[in-house]
């Protein structure tokens, strides 16, 4: 049995006229008849009753038409789906992400994405959220993994997960054994903190301002790795979520007793820019990963 012959049969069964069917298939009528006959021989029952010029389906013909159509449809859909993917074959995924993402989850996502779409080139820029938004607005990147909501109204976003911010100190820090810490205590503790270009920083500043408190910021830095190193050194505390601190075993996460600082992370894109096929694929990929990734299941959900 050949797929081509099945297609011929379907056409003949739809048109119920061998000459017309043959014409529309660009084959001769005897060729069509021969192929249908072969199919009938293979199946062991006539599929058509040929009565003069008129043709009608037998019961076996109806059965075969029903299944053959479904079968061909599956293959056609497969080709369509793959054609959609083909747009991705040699494309470029231009991505921007917070440093935070670069630590753990993003490399994992990118590795998986790469094994699914090995031909797609990935260009990644990392930086604070403000820079990510600029990159999006200028069209230099397609997607950003950043804090949400985005601050610019030209940007659209989808939330992926929420992180709680903890007071993070080295195990040698004087407050390392504390079960929790209050906001007013925090304001008198020397801090190293992310630079004010990030949305997380803005959230934190906002909370201090709400309480008419001023944090005692000794170090301000836009490199997450450096910030973690500073905290590990022991004297300065910092404010971070679990995700950033992961794999830094000597750091302690101390809940802030009288304020829970929640920060939302998500995917951000330009409202008026059509997502490229690689970007769309990555977007779907991240959404899938986000729901299945064990790393993220360890992050406390919004409560």
């Amino acid at each position: 049995m050949e797929l081509r012959h099945i297609r011929y049969f379907i056409r003949a069964a739809e048109v119920l006229h061998f000459t017309h069917a043959a014409e529309s298939l660009y084959i001769s009528q005897p060729t069509l008849s021969t192929h249908v006959q072969q199919l009938e021989e293979e199946l062991g029952l006539p599929l058509f009753d040929r009565i003069g010029r008129k043709v009608r389906l037998t019961e076996a013909g109806h059965v075969f038409l029903d299944h053959a159509r479904r079968s061909i449809r599956e293959l056609d859909i497969a080709m369509e789906e793959i054609a959609d993917m083909k747009g991705l074959k040699s494309g470029t995924l231009r991505l921007a992400a917070l440093l935070l993402f670069g630590q753990e989850i993003l490399p994992l996502w990118l590795a998986k994405f790469n094994s699914s779409y090995p031909e797609i080139q990935i260009v990644l820029k990392t930086g604070p959220s403000e820079r990510l938004e600029e990159e999006l607005l200028s069209g230099r990147v397609d997607l950003a993994l950043s804090f949400v909501p985005a601050s610019n109204p030209e940007l659209d976003y989808e939330k992926m997960f929420t992180e709680e911010v903890f007071f993070v100190v080295s195990e040698r820090h004087p407050l390392a054994e504390r079960a929790e810490i209050t906001f007013s205590e925090l304001s008198t503790t020397p801090l190293a903190i992310v630079s004010n270009k990030t949305a997380a920083r803005k959230v934190i500043d906002g909370i201090f301002a709400d309480r008419q408190l001023k944090p005692k910021i000794m170090v301000e830095i836009d490199d997450l790795q450096a910030l973690l190193k500073i905290a590990e050194a022991g004297n300065l505390g910092t404010l971070l979520g679990r995700l950033a601190v992961r794999k830094h075993e000597t750091l302690r996460l101390i809940p802030i007793a009288d304020a829970s600082i929640m920060i939302d992370f998500g995917i951000v894109w330009h409202k008026h820019v059509h997502l490229s096929p690689p970007a769309r694929a990555f977007f779907e990929h991240v959404k899938r990963e986000c729901c299945t990734e064990p790393i993220l299941s360890r992050i406390p959900a919004e409560s």
Binding site: M1, E2, L3, I6, L43, G44, L45, P46, D49, R50, I51, G52, R56, T58, E59, A60, V63, F64, D66, H67, A68, R70, S71, I72, E74, L75, I77, A78, M79, E81, I82, A83, M85, K86, K89, S115, S116, Y117, P118
Partner: protein, 299 residues
């Protein structure tokens, strides 16, 4: 794209091992690889990721596998269902029959057939011979049970029951004890006959006409049961074949004298079409029944 390519791909994708897949397909591993390569060329994307030590499906390969399995499954199902049709494990028998048959013989034929092939659905439509011939010609019925020969072109017929027409009277009728009766005498007695659109009626009318006689028709009715009932009440007589009267109570059959008034009942089917497997078997079954003289259906 050929089905073979798809089958090879599915096997390789299921086993994720080209050598094992090739073995189970009874082809060489290079042949399998060539076919899969051709499929990938046609699809336009690699279906397998061969960069790792173990063969893995690409995203396109996963999409294609899912659909290809469904496609193959449907073709296998089609074959299974057609095989069922062949051995009468499934299928439909569409019959068009004269009401005459419906009285007695058809129910027994159907019962016999159904006992032998319980999975065949039987659809019977009854009507006049014109209706039956139309049904068979249009393909709405596989087999017609009607008068033979059929009047329309392209219909084949085979006589199953060659019946003589009798004068049918109630046991109480004044003629009930007669051994035979002349047609001229029949023309003088009040008759109940089937409606004029019936072939049986047309045959009766033509026989009267041939002898320059006219039937004294007092009742014309298209319901056979009612006709038999009216006749059994005693005042009117009917002209019917023996098998039509069958076992209806309190009726006497009187032969018509002289040249017998014959009417042939049989099966009709389309001369150019195929008889479906159930229709073939059904036809054989009823033919066998009538191959014997004094068949049971007429007793």
């Amino acid at each position: 794209m050929e089905l073979r390519h798809i089958r090879y791909f599915v096997k390789a994708a299921e086993l994720l091992h080209f050598t094992h897949a090739a073995e189970s397909l009874y082809v060489s591993q290079p042949t399998l690889s060539t076919h899969i390569h051709q499929l990938e060329e046609e699809v336009g994307l690699p279906l397998f990721d061969r960069t790792q030590r173990n063969v893995r499906l690409t995203e396109a390969g996963k999409v294609f596998l899912d659909r290809a399995q469904q496609a193959l499954l449907n073709l296998d199902l089609a074959k299974e269902r057609i095989d069922d049709l062949k051995v009468l494990a499934a299928g439909t028998l569409r019959l068009a029959a004269l009401l005459t048959f419906g009285q007695e013989v058809l129910p027994s034929w159907i019962a016999t057939f159904n006992a032998a092939y319980p999975n065949i659905r039987i659809i019977v439509s009854t009507g006049t011979s014109d209706f039956i011939e139309e049904q068979v010609l249009s393909g709405d019925a596989d087999l017609g049970l009607s008068f033979v020969p059929a009047t329309l072109e392209n219909l084949h017929g085979e006589t199953l029951i060659e019946e003589e027409i009798f004068l049918v009277v109630s046991d109480n009728h004044r003629l009930a004890s007669r051994k035979e009766i002349d047609l001229s005498e029949v023309s003088t007695i009040p008759l109940a006959l089937v409606s004029k659109q019936w072939t049986a009626r047309r045959i009766v009318d033509s026989v009267f006409a041939a002898q320059v006689l006219a039937a004294n028709v007092v009742i014309e009715i298209d319901d056979l049961q009612a006709l038999l009932q009216i006749t059994s009440e005693g005042n009117v007589a009917a002209l019917l074949a023996k098998f039509v009267v069958a076992n209806f109570p309190k009726l006497t059959l009187i032969p018509i004298a002289g040249k017998p008034l014959n009417i042939n009942y049989g099966a009709v089917w389309h001369g150019q079409g195929h008889l479906s497997p159930p229709a073939q078997v059904f036809l054989e079954q009823i033919k066998q029944q009538y191959a014997k003289p004094n068949s049971s259906a007429t007793e």
